[in-house]
Symmetry: C2
Subunit: 415 residues, 2 copies
């Protein structure tokens, strides 16, 4: 089954809006086993939209249109689709009722413009919009089918997933097999090392396929297979998953949508340990990552961001002399910060970061990108010094991930 | 002048990569006065790419192609463009030299694949890639011109801005007038209030036009005009800018790429004041925003993230009884946190946040989204309680912006 995605909206052609809908629909189509051959974007122009629709109608089985189905004059998708499929626009009585109800429930008067939203091409099926007023519609004939979806991403996703996919499935218009994928999330190991260790299965493996994606010190391995149901997919994914875990299991912190901070949190809860943080150059990023996870108050006691040397002394008792002797960016100070945070916040485990994020502040000894980490916990207190390339925000992000990875390894008793 | 943007890459059609290049090129074209009528994406397929190129060649003056110019077999842009423009591919001797030099300088052996990158259609001009190995090229005939740019966004942007635009300009292929815009950044005022106060100029104003864009408690007003040079643009923008400043000047914190935290920093430096933060529900986000700005160590003493009640007591001396009497999320505790942070960190000014970011933890009195703010400084100590809708990360972001806006107004002596 072939599909084409047409986005409608002058704002896209002006670069004011990023076309995330095309990516979303493409990834969903890939999962459903539908091949997407073209993305096309046109402005709010009837002639150009109709011509794009005709071209798509001639070359694919399913045309997915996003945008242009709102109530205003520049919402031209309804008319253009009706022309391209040779249909008249008619009022759908049920749609009209539901739009009336929507406005009545809100005590808002319905305008004539909103009435136009009840018009769909003759023979089309309305698609319910549970998150907005603009209904979509689906129209199929012997040549091709077209589904018109709203432009706002939230409305589009809900309508696609909850309404259109079940409709296509019920009519037997979806391929029997679809793609299933499993993401294996690793940290503390570089993408090229992963690729080396898994070279044979990455290269020889055709089903499932394996892709690697790296981001700020983490590497995502995506296993993808085509199967008719989850059980068949599982059967194909598990053996290769086992090989991966066997070879790089110690670096795996989770699967699919897991976060590094969340996996660390689970580890802490399991071991009944509490955590605190002391961050200088990351400036609160580690605390933010830890508290992004709902329920993090169960193990995260709190953090300090002692940006000045005085604050390092007053908040977490880093001896002034230590900073004079070794500099604020040193393993000695990182260890003292970790110990100090652990004491000041009464936590079992603490992580500390001090470094030069740039763009200023670098020296020959400690160039921009030099970061020292302190770790304190049941294993004692130790430290690491590391160099990160990149700009200020890159150094900060990589440092925060490095700190969490270091904690995870120490908690797991790994070298 | 009309343009069309063609993106090449199967990864785009699979939804693995978001097509940010189309947005970037579109916004740049809009600024340059070039009208973009279509975006098209095709996979790494010679036939479909050539057919998309032919269609574009027939309908626009300038075709911008992104991607598919790397050294591997699935990089097909060179051949497809050569076919569509009816040219042979030839080795460009200068390009070959520069690629050889690139590899020689790095002590890496050059492969035959890399040699293919020196091939461009007969009559084309190479476009230097200062950030990668894949050169682009520009080819023009009587019908249409085509510029092939690399897929990686950093390489694409540099080549477009530094190489292609000057080339087009030197050949007189750019419109005489282009768009100029100025962003006025406001905070502490809602988008609808801004729209009301400026209704007359937003609606009646045709040149410059005014658009409003809101994000997490800030509103960006974009003034756009078409002019032949910066001086002419300035003449058209300044009068309307003055009207805006006259009406909502107290809410304006900066222009164009300024950040709220950066503008607050400038204010603090000007007044010779230092700052600290104490955040519970925002979990380090305020500290991170403040330290995103290089040089923030000049005024930011540091912050604390006292997530647990014990930490609020031990780090910044919030009396336990106060938390028992009023709850940790209360204006009383917010004020004590601000005072405590100011003392513990020895700063002139402090901001504190305590709230229920959700999804759990809400009560009837203090539902999810309830956030209390404490402000301490030369004006004394005061507090505010506010309710934010949205999910956990939305509540956190809005709270952090609200805190910075509140600080800014107090520093400026505004009500």
């Amino acid at each position: 089954m072939k599909a084409e995605i047409i986005a409608v909206g002058t704002e896209l052609l002006l670069g004011e809006v990023l076309n995330t809908n095309a990516q979303y629909l493409s990834s969903q189509c890939a999962l459903l086993g539908i091949d997407v051959y073209h993305h096309v974007t046109v402005g709010d122009n009837h002639r150009r939209l109709e011509s794009a629709l005709q071209q798509a109608r001639d070359r694919v089985d399913l045309v997915l249109v996003t945008g242009g189905i709102g109530p205003t004059a520049d919402d031209i998708t309804r008319e253009a689709v009706a022309s391209a499929w040779g249909r008249n626009l008619v009022v759908d009585p049920e749609l009209l009722d539901s739009i009336k109800t929507y406005f009545c429930n809100r005590g808002v008067e319905m305008t004539h413009n909103n009435e136009s939203q009840a018009m769909i091409p003759e023979g089309a099926f309305p698609l319910e919009n549970s998150r907005g007023t603009a209904p979509g519609f689906y129209l199929a004939d012997d040549v091709s089918a077209v589904a018109c979806l709203p432009g706002p991403p939230g409305e589009l996703r809900t309508m696609f997933f909850d309404v259109l996919v079940p409709l296509l499935r019920s009519r037997g218009h979806l391929p029997v097999s679809r793609l299933y994928s499993r993401d294996v999330l690793t940290a503390g190991i570089g993408e090229s090392t992963v690729a080396n260790i898994l070279a044979d299965i990455i290269e020889e493996q055709r089903d499932p396929t394996i892709g690697t994606y790296s981001n700020a010190g983490t590497v995502r391995l995506r296993l993808t297979t085509r199967a008719e149901d989850p059980e068949e997919a599982e059967k194909k994914l598990v053996p290769i998953l086992e090989v991966i875990l066997d070879r790089i299991g110690e670096f795996v912190y989770g699967y699919d949508d897991d976060s590094l901070a969340g996996s660390l949190g689970r580890e802490l809860i399991e071991k009944g340990l509490t955590l605190s943080s002391a961050e200088s150059c990351t400036g609160g990023l580690i605390a933010r990552m830890l508290t992004d996870t709902p329920g993090s108050s169960e193990y995260f006691q709190g953090g300090v961001v002692p940006y000045s040397n005085e604050a390092k002394e007053s908040l977490i008792s880093v001896p002034k002399q230590l900073m004079i002797d070794h500099g604020a960016v040193s393993e000695e100070v990182a260890r003292a910060m970790a110990r100090g945070a652990s004491e000041a916040l009464g936590s079992d485990v603490a992580v500390a970061v001090t470094g030069v994020a740039g763009p200023g502040g670098g020296t020959e000894d400690k160039p921009v990108g030099t970061v020292c980490f302190g770790f304190s916990g049941p294993w004692g207190t130790d430290s690491e010094r590391h160099f990160f390339s990149g700009d200020r925000s890159g150094v900060r992000r990589r440092s925060a991930v490095f700190a969490l990875v270091g904690l995870r390894r120490r908690l797991a008793g790994l070298p």
